[in-house]
Symmetry: C2
Subunit: 730 residues, 2 copies
Amino acid sequence: MADRSTDIDRIMDPDSVAIVGASTDETKRGYQAIETLQEGGYEGDIYPVNPSADEIRGLEVYSTVSAIPGRVDLALIVTPAPIVPQILEDCADTDLAGAVVIAVGFGEAGEDGQELEDEIVSLAREHGIRLIGPNTSGLINVHRSLNLVGADTVPEGNLALLCQSGNMAISLFTEAATRAGVGFSHYVGVGNEADLQFHEYLSFFDDDPETDAIVCYVEGMSDGRAFLEQARDVTTDTPIVVLKSGRSDVGKRSASSHTGSLAGDAAVTDAVLEQAGVVSVERSDELLSVANALSSLPSADGENVAILADGGGHATLAADALAERGLAIPQLTDETQDNLQDVLPDAASVVNPVDVAGGTDEDQSVFVDCAEAMLADPNVDALMLSGLFGGYGIRFAEQYTDVEIEVADDLADLAAEHEKPLVVQSAYEGFDTDPHAVLRENGIPVVESLDVATASLEALATYGERVAAATESSDFQVIGTTDTAETISDALASGRTQLSEFESKQALSEADLPITPFELATSPDDARDAAASVDGPVAMKIVSPDIVHKSDAGGVALEVSTEAASDTYDDLLAAAHDYDPDSQIDGVLISPMADAGVELIVGVVDDEQFGPVIMCGLGGVFVEVLEDVAFRALPLTEADARGLLEDIDAQELFDGARGNPPVDRDAVVDLLVSVSEFVEANPSVSELDLNPVFATEDGVEVVDAAITLESDGTARVDGEAPISRGTTDD
Amino acid sequence: MADRSTDIDRIMDPDSVAIVGASTDETKRGYQAIETLQEGGYEGDIYPVNPSADEIRGLEVYSTVSAIPGRVDLALIVTPAPIVPQILEDCADTDLAGAVVIAVGFGEAGEDGQELEDEIVSLAREHGIRLIGPNTSGLINVHRSLNLVGADTVPEGNLALLCQSGNMAISLFTEAATRAGVGFSHYVGVGNEADLQFHEYLSFFDDDPETDAIVCYVEGMSDGRAFLEQARDVTTDTPIVVLKSGRSDVGKRSASSHTGSLAGDAAVTDAVLEQAGVVSVERSDELLSVANALSSLPSADGENVAILADGGGHATLAADALAERGLAIPQLTDETQDNLQDVLPDAASVVNPVDVAGGTDEDQSVFVDCAEAMLADPNVDALMLSGLFGGYGIRFAEQYTDVEIEVADDLADLAAEHEKPLVVQSAYEGFDTDPHAVLRENGIPVVESLDVATASLEALATYGERVAAATESSDFQVIGTTDTAETISDALASGRTQLSEFESKQALSEADLPITPFELATSPDDARDAAASVDGPVAMKIVSPDIVHKSDAGGVALEVSTEAASDTYDDLLAAAHDYDPDSQIDGVLISPMADAGVELIVGVVDDEQFGPVIMCGLGGVFVEVLEDVAFRALPLTEADARGLLEDIDAQELFDGARGNPPVDRDAVVDLLVSVSEFVEANPSVSELDLNPVFATEDGVEVVDAAITLESDGTARVDGEAPISRGTTDD
């Protein structure tokens, strides 16, 4: 079998293409594909393949791919689905690197389609051929004029586009066509990801000299965990921007009827992509502008943005929009303010946001003076110029255009000199003026929408932070292969997958997690002795493999005194028997009452796209009502754990609201990392639920715990390491 | 004095204009203003005014306004600020209706400027002249070709623009110039609102046949309460769309340095504007598209949107974006789904969102069949067509353009027939195609951004709801003139403005609000007797005009038994003495312990822009941490109160989270309305704080209360009714 990474190079940048299903009918894709390649100026070899034609558009037609005399890098297969297997069979002894399978009627179309998809994947692997699709709109290498999509002209540029919807691709192409300065290096319709998956394109684009940023429109990834691993490496050099659809329940329904792909929880997706250093956008109209800004600008060292506006309205709206996105609008130094005051009229505002208040109406070079002062300010990480720049020649007097061209040059130089990103928002963007062209030539994006411009600044700030954080973040490789907790091995050995609270706490205690002390009493006397050994009243809870919701069964008693413990034991057993006469009762768990504090919930789930993911958030009634929780993919570094805590909205509760002492954050961080290590060390754990966890100034205590195991006990125990969970092709 | 409403007609639609400060210098505004009027084709009389010129651009120049022989409707004053008073003096005996004062250097420039501003307002009122500005960019009546701004060509259309930033106006003009189908009837730069205020333009635009919607860019209103009153009436016929800047703290800082205007809390502004039937947008790039949609489409009867997309990507993203905005994507009826299945290929999705899956590639009239079925569906209130429509002639084959033109006509007819709004999102919007032109001619907006299109649908749905709700909503007139609560009159009589908890509860009890029973004990024996008269333990709280934060002073004891009451009385007094030896102690308040339940906070504040506003939300630690509160302007109708409760995020708490019984919403609604009536009936109340309030299945109980009065006791007690608080000119 050929080297698969070399294959991807040959597929993405082929010297020869076979069009399988070539046609003499001008209305057919099999004709148009050849026409597009010829008229577009593709300089590689084109081999039409059709058993019943001799010549199409001046090219010799071959009956099969195997009949082609030269080496073929890539085949575009435009035949109906059922014929694809025999085409791949025919390629068995060729040196074909890959095939783009346009046809629909595969996995997205139900069971029969899935069978056919499995068949072509198996044939392709057998014969060393990589597949793009099926159910794809195709592939474009813009710089090579290789257009296998039949789309309108695609503007040339430095963005690679990975897309799960052909129409979204067309939308993005038309958007780029009407917005100067944005263009593409490659387009791949990833389709059903039957063979080649999202993540496999990333390192090709990372190495591609024509690509400066990667844009992904994702409905659902078949191997999200592999994407995280790969993205983490790629994004430090080549920013990755993702628009993930199917965020809402209805959107998910639609996405799955579209490509049959998975569509996980939006909150999980956002969190793990961020963890991997990927920039997410929520709005389709921000996608290209954000990617464009990241492709040509240095990232910001922090989130402090200075605003330079030639009007109070833009100054205020820009400040609002940036603040809404969580960016800071820092005070400028006194020196900067003095410098601004020197060049601006008295009416100007020299605090951030800066409003030149007419100071540039007659001399636009004042923008340069202002930008110079602001970019030099140590409090400033990025600069936004907002208002009318580039339109003074239209707004005021034609001769200003020449001045603005010089100013544009100077602004770009200043930004380069200070290595700080500059984003220009202009009401005149749509007029495509010369000063804007100069800015763009120098890598400074010009955006019409104030809101989209602020999205770019947010991305520049967060991307910088994420790349900086990447070295301290998870490598996304879950390496455990054998369960280390004895309680878990024992449970699996006895064929059980749901551990009782007692077993769950035993397993976690073995791993030294901070569990509230507990003792299993199996008689009223036991209960009294256990209660007596505790200072103060105790909590008593029924232990039964058959009773998951202990409170519903009347199986919980709180604040029980030593004197009452033995009677309470009997009461709990009676209540459990009433609730479910057939339930097996293992006894009663006795613990001290936990210190009140901030109530948290910590959990681990196996996300269908991204594998094991940890959640932490506010517990109690508020976990359901407010859903103030945050996520990270496992394994968790300490930095990940801190970031996870910071993502919880109600930070005031940790800092000590209403005069309460602040919570011991380090203890919570330790707990989260320990949970991560526990799950890694016990690969059979598929779900884990610590609820409640109480955090106080003195530390953290897990009061209740529940662990669920994979039913076959082999979730990640298949003898190979490292293993990515959630993959579909292993 | 002339009729002021007639004045506004003469100002907005003048037959004659004086240019005061006219100039022979072509670079001056005083020359360019005349040039713009002449070249724009203004057909009214133009009178240049300048004491030292004879003729400008062929027009006779007058030395003063009073020297003009004809009647002058409007004066554009382009002189420096200090000369404005003498110009107004000169107009004393003329029939001038209004003046546009361009100059800066008034209220926005500090104290001296404010003095000058007060002077010109006083002169203008004395002489019956209304003022626009000062510090305004001017006025445009597009249909009359009256352009007093000197802006670029302003696209003609049906939107009136009220704007507090000249550069924002230019941004909106350029946006309209590059987006087909959007234009303006009038523009007013409201400037400092020294005389004419935001609300005074509304009824002119409501009556104006050229105006179908009103667009406002607001930094801060000087009389927000009057705006609410006026907007409530106007918006039922003429939708009002507001972009309010200064939402963030930094934005507020910037807004006040810009126009010196107020900028209240964004949450209050959003809530009271909604209450008045005004549509707010948060993003500047949504403003025009939303107003345009409202100006030409019927509102939606509900929030159920059907999506018709020619690609799964658009279907999914549209569903996500609509759901994110709180709209519903309803199931279609079986009949609709059958009808869709009849015309669409098998691969299509006929559940909402509908994806035609290639079904329109070769015959776009299928869109008509689909739209017909979907618009007829009783589950559907509005339709969004998303994807490539209008671009099939570009994307596939030229001849499709003619088909699309017919389809556009049919779609518009169907939407009109069903009286349901249809919004078209198309990737080809920027190509300004003929099918799009046909849609626009028929009042169907075509939008490029999917996100902006969903903003329009949200506005159509919420506007419909609001107009429907308007009849049941507040009239914003707070009518009380004399305090009715004796406790309040007594406190004012004794010169006090902060009522103790005891006094606050007395005042509220007089008005029959559901206060937890309370008794004031002034001795240990009193305390014991009071506790004995209550079933169960009691709460005891110190009563002192000098101690506002009772807990901090150790002045609160909970769960006190009858036996412990007298000792506790002594303890509380001792603690209060320790806390503040000079505090006056009136006794100890004794109440039964309140039933636990959902903890709420209810408050009234006097908002600087909008006058008295009520707040209700989650109480306890979460009011500070989560700020899950909602607002309405007083007075409150029952419908307002219900809407207020529904605006609180944590609805699950009201419905009974975690198996708790649902809260008695009616009781909470009654409480809110009673609070509103109480504040109306006691105009000296400037702040009121009920915290906590416990709501249970059995009703609602106010556990603590604090009332603050206006220091001069005459906040709204000035003998005239109805009275709007917060106005600047009464």
